[in-house]
């Protein structure tokens, strides 16, 4: 299949990204470059200097909301992509509203508590919507430990499933980027198997 055909197919889909940090910003950029038509991105944080070691932002964007900066960066990469940005904290109540009609949802949080809350909410309140999660990406090296698991048709896990980010084990661009791109790769794989719904919108 030619890239022009792949891009045309992906243009018909909408992907939700929960969190616009290391996983979310890099995954969103990979999906935008691939041509996924609509990205629904949610995050409530502003960019801090410490984020620049792994997140897809620029020093000049420090102090800006991540949603605003990511929308701007994606527009510079591929102006055809529609970015719907929600600058608010996700919870059990707003997740089903914000990500309604998304074909796939990407979990891109930092905190394990938020990861659990999102998984519980999406899997119980939005049955049938595939969820692509990141779990375990801190530190450096250990390429062989990073894996992908398809649990079932609605749950996919990318990461080493063992390292926890902390002071002595910071998340860094190479490993975060690998997992973010594995998530994007999983999304593309799911969407390439789908028939496009030409009647939506």
């Amino acid at each position: 299949m030619r890239f022009s055909e792949i891009k045309d197919h992906l243009a018909g889909f909408r992907v939700g990204i929960a969190g616009a940090g290391g996983l979310g910003s890099n995954c969103a950029v990979a999906l935008a470059r691939s041509g996924v038509g609509t990205l629904v991105i949610s995050d409530f944080d502003v960019i801090e200097p410490a984020n620049l070691n792994r997140q897809c932002y620029f020093a000049s964007q420090v102090g800006t909301f991540k949603t605003v900066a990511l929308k701007e960066n994606i527009a510079r990469i591929n102006p055809d992509i529609i970015v719907i940005a929600h600058t608010e904290k996700l919870d059990k109540l707003n997740i089903p509203e914000i990500f309604a009609s998304c074909d796939v949802i990407v979990e891109a949080f930092d905190s394990d508590k938020m990861k659990e809350m999102l998984a519980e909410t999406v899997q119980t309140r939005m049955p049938g919507t595939p969820l692509v999660m990141g779990s375990g990406l801190a530190g450096w090296g250990k390429n062989e430990a990073i894996k992908f698991r398809k649990i079932d048709e609605t749950l996919y896990i990318c990461g080493d499933e063992s390292t926890t980010a902390g002071e002595e084990m910071p998340p860094m661009a190479p490993r975060v980027g690998i997992v973010a791109n594995m998530q994007a790769n999983t999304v593309v794989e799911i969407l390439m198997k789908r028939t496009r719904d030409y009647f939506r919108q």
């Binding site: 290391g22 891109a108 519980e120 899997q123 999660m133 990141g134 990406l137 980010a165 998340p171």
Partner: protein, 67 residues
């Protein structure tokens, strides 16, 4: 009883097992996780009341901080 835990057959004593008991027996200590039984996610507040039966397909996934 025999269940499939993360795609591997595992034996447990007795005929039924609570999720909370399974977590202790298997020493699944990291606190944030997903538990699915036969494809259905069981929220944390139901670990003490949800019974795993013989033949069930159980998935336990750790959710590690970092992103």
């Amino acid at each position: 009883m025999k269940i499939f835990l993360n795609n591997r057959a595992e034996e447990f004593p007795g005929e039924t097992l609570l999720i909370s008991e399974m977590l202790v027996l298997k020493k699944f200590s990291y606190k944030m996780r997903i538990v699915k039984i036969n494809g259905l996610l069981i929220p944390r507040e139901r670990y003490e009341s949800t019974i795993i039966h013989d033949g069930d397909n159980v998935q336990m996934i750790y959710l590690m901080s970092g992103g």
